[in-house]
Amino acid sequence: MAKEKYNLAIIGTKDQILGFKALGMTAVNANNADEAKAKLFELVAENIDLGDGETRKKYAIIFMLEEYMAPLTKDDYKKLNKEALPAVVPIPGVKGTEGFGLTRIKRMVEQAVGSDIFG
């Protein structure tokens, strides 16, 4: 299979995503968690037509501000986790991290092992 080019996207408030936009990412503006969630699923669902009825995901990674990522429910995660792509990654905003990224990793450990072994 030939290597395909995938895009990157970021969801967040305007002032925080501008820097990433300059790097060439698709920047999507969202002002609150609900809006961010809606936009996220829109981006996840975006496909590129390869012809012959084949499609692939347009975005490989979607970055999202952690304050918008935190309210996502378990069901949302399940939906996001169905396919290998895209990867949705929380990033801390201007205010700095509130530890959501590490909490998320902790949750993964709990899911896999059954209890948090790192404490």
């Binding site: 290597k3 395909e4 080019k5 995938y6 895009n7 990157l8 002032d15 925080q16 501008l18 820097g19 990433f20 936009k21 300059a22 790097l23 060439g24 990412m25 490989a60 990674i61 970055f63 986790n81 290998a84 792509l85 990867a87 990654v89 990033i91 801390p92 905003g93 201007v94 700095g96 991290t97 990224g101 590490l102 998320r104 990793i105 993964m108 450990v109 899911q111 896999a112 092992v113 059954g114 790192f118």
Partner: protein, 216 residues
């Protein structure tokens, strides 16, 4: 443990024994898979934890720079400057197969210059902050890759764990109990036939003896 609802026949017994064999084999295989997954998961999750802390720290620095830069410029100017970026990022994605979980590997491709604006109205801080962002980007990609891998592995590990437990604590004991039940039933039936025949034989012999006595 509840026994299964089956007829206590020899046929069923054979079927169940076959099922136990398959289930035991499946259980062993799944447990091996679980061990493999767990090992890989631990490896990845350790990396993810350190990498995340590192990325968050660096990113915060970049954000701080950017905030300072944007504070020194008119918002309109800033927005105009960054409106049409000539830089392009894209990813090449390869999927790897680890224990039948497909996990992605990302490779970053960058094109163009990020400093794509007039220097007149923009500040030097903006250049610096964008460079800082660009420095963080490869790390961010790496983080995305590793966290995604961890996520997928976590899910698969959980699934496998459930399956192993279901086999170990539900299916296998049930099957074993049912096999025991059927073989006991069959033995019971066997004994019952034997005693039955013995009794018939005894009564027949008694009748014969009686007939002989009468004839004599």
């Amino acid at each position: 443990m509840a026994k299964l609802n089956v007829n206590p026949t020899r046929m069923e017994l054979l079927n169940l024994k076959k099922q136990i064999k398959t289930a035991t084999r499946g259980h062993k295989l799944l447990r091996d898979k679980q061990d493999g997954l767990m090992q890989k998961f631990m490896e990845i999750i350790r990396e993810a934890r350190t990498l995340r802390s590192k990325v968050e720290e660096k990113l915060q620095g970049a954000f701080k720079n950017f905030m300072q830069a944007s504070a020194m410029m008119y918002p309109e100017v800033l927005e105009n400057a960054l409106l049409y970026p000539s830089a392009k990022v894209s990813l090449e994605v390869e999927t790897k197969n680890v224990m039948s979980v497909r996990i992605p590997n990302f490779e970053l491709k960058q094109e163009g210059n990020i400093l794509n604006y007039g220097y007149l109205q923009t500040s030097g801080e903006l250049d610096m902050s964008l460079e800082a962002f660009q420095e963080v980007l490869p790390l961010l990609i790496q983080l995305a890759e590793i966290e995604r891998q961890a996520e997928r592995l976590a899910e698969e590990t959980e699934k496998t764990r459930r399956r192993v437990n279901a086999l170990e604590h539900m299916l296998l004991p049930n099957l074993k109990e049912t096999v025991k039940f059927i073989s006991m039933k069959l033995e019971e039936a066997e004994r019952s036939t034997i005693t039955g025949t013995l009794r018939i034989k005894a009564s027949m012999e008694a009748e014969e003896a009686e007939a002989k006595a009468k004839a004599a």
